[in-house]
């Protein structure tokens, strides 16, 4: 059971109406039936996996999704009671509650007019329900007994000792920010070339005021701190995201009398502009969920949300044997063992550093389970092996699913190596994969090389589906392959015939 699930159990026992006074809104909030509140939630997901995420939402929440033209975003309606389950979704990176959506916003001609409109907009939006949701969401985090620690420095592990989660959270947030600045580990983000993401502070002061003791929040109304993050994409805008965030934020500050703070904020207001579509939202997640499983990073660690999407594409069945033969830090098998614990997962790599990291990540996972369960430490159905992808020490036809992130040739390996590696990989994978029912989800940026390698193996692999994804600015693809019913024949048994590449 995850932290959030534990918190939910506790929260649902608690009165939802606590502490409305902390929020200063112009309308007074009656202690009404907020339990039956219906809200629209927006979620950011890895581009290309919007449909997979929508499937997960339907499966776990029963809601249907609207997939936005703004890539990597989906929207769905839920009742507030389901909020905790929303946090359990494995395919989403970040969550926010929608304040208002403009499907076809009419921008005025000049920058001055557009920005003036944004200023006026702030006071006209229906903030109160979304803020209620935000409030409930915040109280989840407070009720967590153990703060979820997904940090790059395992030394930063802290257990809450009852001094108030808020203090821990703050330090964590700072820790997280410091880590992302200090670490040279690249993360997989969207290509910023056409989208700007700049958060702007409104007002004078940047310094986070640590004087405000948040423990007092329970008894005294506290001035909330906020920031505005604006994402803008589109060619016809006459303003920058910076300017929009600044002016919109200024108006928000005037309206609520909140204090602006770029780093230590309570409320993050999102202003997402994609051509003529504008969505105003309030963030529900502070750190992206996608790093959740990995405590030991490698140079090319895959987002858990992407790993989840790839696994889901393969539709794992109970007792399926799922292998990642180039596992790196083990992101994929770990996500697999967590979400599909009724399958058996094997993480393999030729690099001893990688295998060790994967094994460490698996142990960290076991420790997390241990803390949560509060009893015996449960092991998971996952194992690690050091092996060579071109000579897998696995029985022929013994694997049901193969999911892996193939070397791109830019950050790991090289394009020339891929030319030799890809055919050998695909061949060996076809050998170990079960004929007829086996399948593989393979992520690669070297689409040309992959396609060529695949073309010589049509008798064993059939391309079922392709998902186009964006990995750190690189246009990559996830190929879903199905293993044909044809049994694998070893070349030496082919009477001198060579399998053509």
């Amino acid at each position: 059971m995850s932290d959030v699930q534990e918190a939910t159990k506790q929260l649902l026992d608690v009165n939802l109406h606590e502490n409305w006074r902390a929020i200063q809104v112009t309308e007074s909030d009656p202690r009404s039936e907020s339990e039956h509140l219906q809200v629209t939630i927006g979620a950011t997901v890895p581009t290309g996996f919007e449909q997979t995420a929508a499937d997960e939402v339907r499966e776990k929440l029963g809601s249907s999704c609207k997939i936005s033209k703004d890539r990597g975003k989906i929207y769905f309606d839920i009742s507030v009671e389901s909020l905790a389950q929303v946090h359990c979704l494995r395919s989403v990176d970040n969550l926010f509650v929608v304040v208002k959506e403009f499907k076809d916003y009419q921008f005025k001609e000049t920058k001055e007019e557009v920005l003036k409109d944004f200023e006026e907009l702030a006071g006209k939006l229906p903030w109160s329900d979304p803020l209620k949701v935000w409030k409930i969401n915040t109280s989840f985090k407070k009720k967590k007994t153990k703060r979820k620690k997904i940090n790059q420095n395992s030394g930063r592990e802290k257990i809450d000792n009852g001094q108030g989660d808020k203090t821990d959270e703050k330090e964590d947030k700072k820790g997280f920010t410091n880590n992302t600045l200090d670490s040279h580990i690249l993360d997989y983000y969207e290509n910023p070339a056409i989208k700007e993401e700049i958060s702007t502070l409104v007002g004078d002061d940047l310094a986070s005021s640590k004087d405000e003791k948040d423990e007092k929040e329970e008894t005294h109304p506290k001035v909330l701190k906020f920031r505005v993050t604006c994402n803008r994409a589109g060619e016809k805008h006459c303003f920058s995201s910076n300017e929009a965030a600044r002016d919109f934020g200024g108006a928000v500050q005037d309206y609520f009398k909140w204090k602006a703070d770029m780093t230590n904020f309570d409320v993050e207001v999102l202003l997402n502009i994609h051509d003529n579509e504008i969505v105003v939202g309030i963030a529900l997640t502070e750190e992206s969920l996608h790093r959740r499983n990995i405590t030991h990073f490698g140079p090319t660690t895959l987002r858990s949300t992407l790993a989840y999407g790839m696994l889901r594409l393969c539709a794992p069945q109970p007792a399926d044997i799922i292998v990642d033969p180039m596992c790196g830090t083990g992101a994929i098998p770990i996500e697999g063992a967590t979400e599909w614990s009724n399958c058996y997962h094997i993480a393999g790599d030729n690099n001893p550093l990688a295998v060790n990291r994967a094994a460490n990540n698996i142990s960290s996972l076991l420790t997390k389970s241990q803390i949560k369960e509060g009893k015996v430490s449960w092991s998971l159905p996952i194992d690690a092996v050091q092996w060579d992808i071109c000579n897998l020490p696995l029985r022929t036809g013994s694997v049901d699913i193969i999911v892996t992130d193939m070397p791109f040739g830019k950050r790991m390996g090289s394009k020339k190596r891929n030319w030799n590696l890809y055919p050998a990989c695909l061949r060996e994978m076809s050998r170990v994969c079960k004929p007829g029912t086996g399948r593989a989800a393979l992520l690669t940026q070297d689409k040309k090389c992959f396609t060529k390698a695949l073309s010589g193996l049509g008798h064993v692999w059939r391309k079922a589906h392709t998902v186009w994804v964006n990995i750190g600015g690189l246009h990559a693809a996830v190929y879903l392959l199905k293993r044909t019913p044809q049994a694998f024949v070893h070349p030496s048994e082919q009477d001198g015939e060579r399998t053509p590449w």
Partner: protein, 120 residues
């Protein structure tokens, strides 16, 4: 290394082919890790298991799946324990055909071969 993994592993020394299975297991350090029992998982896994290999690797295994095993909780729990809860931390795996030894260290088998040993 769990015994279910051992059941899938095969030697890939050049020329050995299917005679590389099963690998002979010598365990010098073993740990028992409890894993949550999932009877459906175990029942579906039974047909995938190479029984002879399992018998070689573990002593406390029945000779074969018994009639109606899918509903026999005692049998399933026994298999669950053998396949998932026994973890070999240190030891070796030996190719039955070539005799080549593969070490298991900190629970991870190292199956890498030198260039001369691998098939082209």
């Amino acid at each position: 290394m769990k015994l279910l993994t051992h059941n899938l592993l095969s030697s890939h020394v050049r020329g050995v082919g299917s005679r590389g299975f099963p690998l002979r297991l010598q365990a010098t350090e073993v740990r028992i890790n409890p894993v949550e029992f999932n009877p459906d998982f175990v029942a579906r896994m039974i047909p995938k298991v190479e029984w002879a290999a399992l018998l070689e690797a573990a002593d406390t295994v029945p000779k074969g799946p018994i009639e109606g095993y899918e509903h026999d909780e005692k049998f399933l729990r026994q298999m669950h324990h053998v396949l998932l809860e026994v973890d070999v931390l240190e030891g070796t795996l030996q190719c039955p055909e070539s005799g080549r030894l593969f070490p298991i260290s900190r629970g991870i088998p190292n199956m890498l071969l030198s260039d001369e040993e691998t098939e082209t």
